[in-house]
């Protein structure tokens, strides 16, 4: 590694939007391609760092003209379209707290996040407007809905982005932004209560830049493709910030998963470094090898994965079919950047998370705060203080403080470290479900299920799945007089999809007479899971039902 590639934060300017655009132009990259964007229908857009600088400046001027000021919250609620990128960086230039949302979120999920954050604006498109308008009255802080695909303003508070951009200047002087100024906001699900907003600061760019260099092994002439959606922390930390902070060209694709299309993209754009997810790799593994044989991936140099543990079988498949190792990386919404990882120069132990990044102190810690010895299973913890560490759960300082115990940040994951210092993931210490890399709160799904007529009780768990890592499974108890049938199942599925998200929609429903609870009324998900898997439920002495 050389310091040549670690260029952010010159002259005390930590602003991520500035670093990813203006600074790259100042380095002589104004004419260099920043992004090859391939739309869902094959339409191709090229964008240089100069374009990115001008368009993000326009967007910064747009939000300033609407009265947004530093610290106001703007959310981007869009699928992967080219407007996401300059808008995200422009909002950061204007020092807005910039949140991203998965486009499959339903109205309840939106209400929770927009309401909790006190969002002042949402950037979205016409097809999502209906969801927002249904909750509009319950969002008193929301002043503007800005539509990327409306040619004209729809109302005083429902505005056309193209019309606003046309009026805005391409010049914007980004204010000097100290490292501690808040930047990106990602909501993440817990096993209890509503989702919490992990708030980051502009300082995070330092570690996103360093990990892009040391782990993703990005070099100035690389063509990088991160397949993650921007709703996910990977999509912002490594689909936007890390690579552009070092002037690397990125590929983005707005279409759905398609094995042949993905390989066509790798070949067509000459992708050299590819960052994707285990679920996607497992889906590719199921394809006929002939699907890949016609593509020349000679330029592909390095492949990384993130989201769920990477099975050894996938690593073997990568070696056989792609002729490359696949490097598993581990981080969380809260950590903002890769923390424990396989990386060039470190021998891969298939199935292992790898070792902590230099400067990151990790440990396996018991519930009472004792650092455990090698091969002992416990809580995976990190010593606080790294550059991309979240600085709060927005508006929930009490919950934030609970994440730090005995001088450690408690990740919520469990695992062990072997005698050679490699970390191995074991599971979660809570009930949060990881399905295809998305964290799903059982509480959110259970609450939404109870909104459907006929549902008396609900309990939701994650169960192992070969493709998705975990599947969402719902148990329901029906009210008297109601019967389970396919119509009710469809009603529940659509309700969860449209209120929470398609990701959170249970893939399986089971009907019980009662949902097991303890004496204080807490749903015993542990018991549900044991029964589902045909295992011993352990101590059930506190079971009430």
């Amino acid at each position: 590694m050389t310091n040549e590639r670690l260029i952010p934060a010159q002259n005390g300017q930590f602003n991520i939007g500035h670093i990813c655009t203006r600074l790259q132009c100042d380095r002589g990259f104004a004419g260099k391609t920043a992004m090859h964007f391939l739309g869902a229908h094959g339409e191709r857009t090229e964008c240089t760092f100069g374009d990115l600088e001008r368009e993000s400046a326009r967007f910064a001027n747009v939000v300033r003209s609407l009265g947004f000021s530093a610290g106001d919250v703007l959310f981007i609620f869009l699928p992967k379209v080219s407007e996401v990128f300059p808008s995200f960086l422009g909002a950061l230039k204007a020092q807005l707290i910039t949140g991203t949302l998965f486009s499959n979120f339903g109205e309840e999920a939106l209400l929770d996040r927009l309401g909790d954050a006190g969002a002042k604006g949402v950037l979205t498109r016409k097809s999502y407007l209906k969801k927002l308008l249904r909750i509009r009255e319950r969002l008193p802080s929301l002043k503007f809905i800005i539509l990327t695909d409306a040619a004209e303003h729809q109302a005083a508070d429902i505005l056309s982005l193209p019309a606003l951009m046309q009026q805005a200047s391409t010049e914007f002087e980004t204010p000097l932004t100290p490292a501690e100024v808040p930047s990106v906001l990602h909501y993440t699900s817990g096993s209890t209560g509503k989702p919490k907003g992990a708030l980051h600061r502009h300082r995070s760019v330092l570690l996103q830049n360093r990990t892009a260099t040391e782990v993703l092994d990005l070099r100035p002439d690389d063509i990088f493709w991160c397949t993650a959606d921007h709703g996910w922390v990977t999509g912002t930390s490594y689909g936007i910030i890390g690579p552009w902070s070092m002037g690397v060209t990125q590929v983005h694709f707005g279409g759905a998963y398609d094995a042949a299309k993905w390989f066509e993209i790798l070949e067509q754009f000459g992708v050299t470094v590819w960052y994707t997810a285990p679920t996607a790799l497992r889906m590719l593994m199921r394809e006929d090898p002939a699907t890949f044989a016609r593509f020349n991936l000679g330029k592909l140099r390095h492949i990384c994965s993130v989201g769920e543990p990477l099975n050894p079988e996938v690593i073997s498949w990568g070696r056989k079919v792609l002729g490359k190792d696949i490097y598993d990386t581990w981080f969380q919404t809260e950590t903002g950047a890769i923390m424990i990882t396989n990386r060039p120069g470190l021998t891969i132990k298939p199935g292992s998370m790898g070792k902590p990044l230099s400067g990151i102190e990790a440990a396996i810690v018991s519930d009472d705060g004792k650092v455990l010895s090698d091969n002992e299973q416990g809580n995976l913890c990190l010593r606080p203080g790294w550059d991309s560490m979240f600085v709060s759960y927005f508006h929930h300082e009490d919950v934030y403080r609970q994440k730090f115990k005995h001088g450690w940040y408690m990740t919520g994951d469990t695992g062990y470290r072997d005698s050679e210092g490699y970390y191995w993931f074991m599971g979660r210490s809570d009930d949060v479900i990881n399905t295809a890399g998305h964290l799903v709160s059982p509480f959110e799904v259970e609450s939404a299920l109870l909104e459907v007529e006929g549902i008396a009780e609900s309990g939701v768990i994650g169960v192992p799945d070969e493709l998705l890592w975990e599947n969402v499974v719902a148990f329901v108890a029906l009210r008297k007089g109601y019967e389970w049938n396919s119509g009710l199942e469809l009603k529940l599925r659509l309700h969860i999809s449209n209120r929470v998200s398609t990701t959170a929609t249970p893939q399986e429903f089971r009907v019980l007479d009662n949902i097991p609870k303890n004496k204080s009324g807490k749903i015993m998900r542990r018991v549900l899971k044991a029964r589902y898997l045909g295992k011993d439920a352990g101590d059930v002495s506190t079971l009430d039902i």
């Binding site: 486009s103 498109r125 599925r493 990701t503």
Partner: protein
């Protein structure tokens, strides 16, 4: 109500969007929110709405809305 009108209503319900107007050539890339997970909802809703069943082989042949529509019409006789 024609088959396509009924199918359009199902699309609007499943994807929670009253502005959808389906056409034969439309694919998942044309409808916001049409992903592999919501596709399961769509197929279940079509089966219930029309009182028909698709087998696994048939599901794999659907490349666009037109394929789905033709399959529904053939099952309805």
């Amino acid at each position: 109500m024609t088959t396509i009108e009924k199918l359009n209503g199902i699309f609007r319900t499943v994807f929670d969007n009253d502005e959808i107007n389906i056409q034969s050539e439309m694919t998942a890339n044309d409808v916001d929110g049409w992903d592999s997970l919501s596709h399961v909802n769509l197929i279940l809703a079509v089966e219930q709405g029309f009182g028909i069943r698709f087998n696994q082989k048939e599901l794999l042949t659907f490349k666009n809305v037109g394929d789905l529509l033709r399959s529904i019409e053939s099952k309805l006789g």
